[in-house]
């Protein structure tokens, strides 16, 4: 059932596709011209809604619906393209921006036209220096050709575009933190509501979409929303870029039809496990998705099937873990990342991620008891749903899923590491016990 025609990756490696000449030779910007000439904004919005396109950044919210939330009327409205791709395991937007920046820009212009937006920004993570250079060059080309700026192609519609570089903070991929960062502040998430559609960037109505989502827009208006909705499954329409990494033979970005069996992605596309090894666990949607096991290889890869299995499709980043890897290492590395990236605003996340790392380190060092595993799960439970944003949940979900699904491995690790304890470890442990006793007797 796999969809054979590529949309986003069509001719992606054509030499110099990133230049406007080559992009136009391949029909680029023809769709923008047609839309501005023939379609009223409401029709474009209707096509986007009919397509069923769901956000490709992680949350999977319907893009057309989101664009429809923006108030009508004459005021400054903003589009922020979220190019802060920082979820571990995700690298699809990088490829799109580096190789086909005009596909994104054309999509952004059409989306802006549909939602009545006059100021657009691409917030790209600071580490993507080469990709930001490509985007800046592409934006300049589009300005020179009259596709950006005021009164585009004589249509009376105008939108500006600024490529804005971040400076290294995972949290800025969270949409309200992105807005604060774009306003020149520390990237702390905001309380919602108000939602960005009403009060976003500079307190104006703001639409925030992922690179891959916006790159789809011109394809959707071109083929028609209904036609696009025929690709994929009923509730997960279209193609998806899947970033496959970790312990596989052929890591990389693959464009698939949503609903393709996961096994096909992992074995046919990514080439299966490395020689002599077997898969043990996998993250189906970035490092913040609860891990799945080989028992779930036959799940169709779409938003709802992965959610029904207790995980999430997220950004479409699959990380494979094989039998040579300790789940304790994976859990610890995952937790350390979120601890480092917690902005510190909400207590459950700031303290919860920090204590989870400490407890997992005790597991690693053989200083833990199986009871620590219960405490880890309880801490994770108390982070979830209790913060302004989902960064804390993003650690709690995978870590607690690892402890739950691989508990015997964690317990075996505790026992094995305990037997290897050194006199120094014993002294540390004795100190801790003394402190605990003093605390209880005081």
């Amino acid at each position: 059932m796999s969809y054979s025609d590529e949309l986003l990756f069509d001719n992606i490696d054509e030499p110099n596709l990133k230049s406007i000449e080559v992009y136009e030779q391949r029909g680029g910007y023809d769709e923008l011209k047609r839309v501005l000439r023939e379609l009223p904004p409401e029709t474009v919005l209707n096509e986007l809604q009919a397509s069923g396109l769901r956000g490709r950044g992680g949350a999977g919210f319907a893009m057309g619906t989101k664009a429809g939330f923006l108030p009508k009327g004459d005021m400054d409205k903003y589009l922020c393209c979220n190019a802060d791709e920082s979820e571990p395991g995700t690298f699809k937007d990088r490829e799109l921006m580096q190789k086909n920046p005009h596909q994104l820009i054309e999509g952004m212009i059409i989306a802006s036209f549909a939602a009545g937006i006059n100021k657009a920004f691409i917030y790209i993570r600071g580490e993507y220096e080469d990709q930001a250079d490509v985007l800046e060059a592409a934006a300049k080309e589009a300005y020179d050709k009259g596709y950006l700026g005021e009164n585009i192609l004589g249509s009376g519609f105008g939108v500006s575009l600024v490529v804005h570089r971040g400076a290294g903070a995972y949290i800025c991929g969270e949409e309200t933190a992105l807005l604060d960062s774009l306003e020149g502040k520390r990237g702390n998430p905001r309380l919602k509501p108000p939602f960005p559609a009403n009060a976003g960037l500079f307190q104006g109505p703001t639409l925030i979409n992922n690179v891959e989502t916006l790159s789809n827009v011109a394809h959707i208006t071109k083929m028609g929303g209904a036609k696009y909705a025929e690709i994929g499954t009923e509730k997960s329409t279209g193609t998806k870029l899947v970033s496959i990494s970790g312990c596989v033979q052929k890591p990389g970005n693959y464009e698939i039809e949503l609903g393709t069996p996961s096994r096909e992605l992992l074995f046919d596309l990514a080439g299966g496990p490395l020689p002599g090894r077997e898969f043990k666990a996998w993250f189906p949607g970035g490092s913040s998705s609860p891990v799945l096991t080989p028992a779930e290889f036959d799940l169709p890869y779409d938003f709802d099937s992965i959610a029904a299995a207790g995980s999430m499709l997220g950004s479409g980043a699959i990380i494979m873990i094989d039998d040579s890897v300790s789940m304790v290492d994976v859990a610890l590395r995952t937790a350390k990342f979120y601890k480092h990236e917690s902005c510190g605003k909400c207590t459950p996340c700031r303290e919860g991620t920090s204590w989870t790392v400490k407890m997992l380190q005790r597991v690693e060092d053989g200083l833990a008891t199986p009871m620590d595993l219960d405490i880890i799960e309880s801490v994770c439970d108390q982070i979830m749903g209790n913060c302004l944003c989902v960064l804390g949940d993003a650690m709690a979900m995978p870590v607690s899923s690892m402890v739950k699904k691989f508990r015997p491995e964690f317990e075996a690790h505790i026992e094995a590491a305990r037997l290897k304890r050194t006199p120094l470890d014993e002294a540390t442990l004795a100190d801790e016990l003394n402190l605990a006793e003093m605390a209880t007797s005081a």
């Binding site: 990756f9 992606i12 490696d13 400054d76 791709e85 920082s86 571990p88 395991g89 995700t90 690298f91 937007d93 990088r94 490829e95 580096q98 190789k99 100021k119 993570r125 600071g126 580490e127 220096e129 080469d130 600024v162 804005h164 570089r165 400076a167 290294g168 903070a169 995972y170 960062s181 774009l182 306003e183 020149g184 502040k185 520390r186 990237g187 500079f202 970033s243 496959i244 990494s245 970790g246 312990c247 052929k250 890591p251 990389g252 970005n253 693959y254 596309l269 080439g271 490395l274 490092s287 990380i319 494979m320 873990i321 290492d329 994976v330 590395r333 995952t334 990342f337 990236e341 902005c343």
Partner: protein, 209 residues
Amino acid sequence: MTREARRFEDTIPQLADTPVPDDLKAWIIDRMEMYPDKKSAIIPCLMAAQKTHGWLSPEAVDQVAAVMKLTPAQLVSVASFYDMFELEPSGNRTIYMCTNISCMLRGADAVMEELERQVGVKNGGVSEDGIFLRNFECLGACDIAPMASVDGHFVGPLTVEDAKTLVEDIRAGREVLAKKQLSRRPVAATLWQNGGRAEGYDVSEGGES
């Protein structure tokens, strides 16, 4: 005007007694005009100043503050949030080695150890010849795991031997690991059809953890 407000403004460095390199000043002024609110330009302008000075020295921050007419305290409060700002002296060449999950699974820790040996500093250190080495969270290139960013250019997949070549290339002023530059890598479907080889890019050997 209240007294407090005057004192607050007094902490903004005056352009008259803060020399700012002409191109940096012009860049900051241009950048401020791109946004409805000039404060949006804070992060890009601090980055430009960091590129000019090598790190966000107090002088660098004062220069941005003077041109933007903001207090240095506000700028530093923003800068300290982000990983890429260096508030202490740094090197003129930068290696970010990814040690996050996908790279860890493919042997990043061993590559990092070798990098530390070759550069001659521990994580976060600057060598005498100005190479800054630190581990970094996921850089968004897990297809070439384990990978590193050298002055913003991504290279991988790295073997332990590559770590040595990488540092030698930096010291010799050559392009770093020319055969492993991400910019030359085609998309996965094309690359693997050709056994991991493409024009100017080759991972057909090595890359295994």
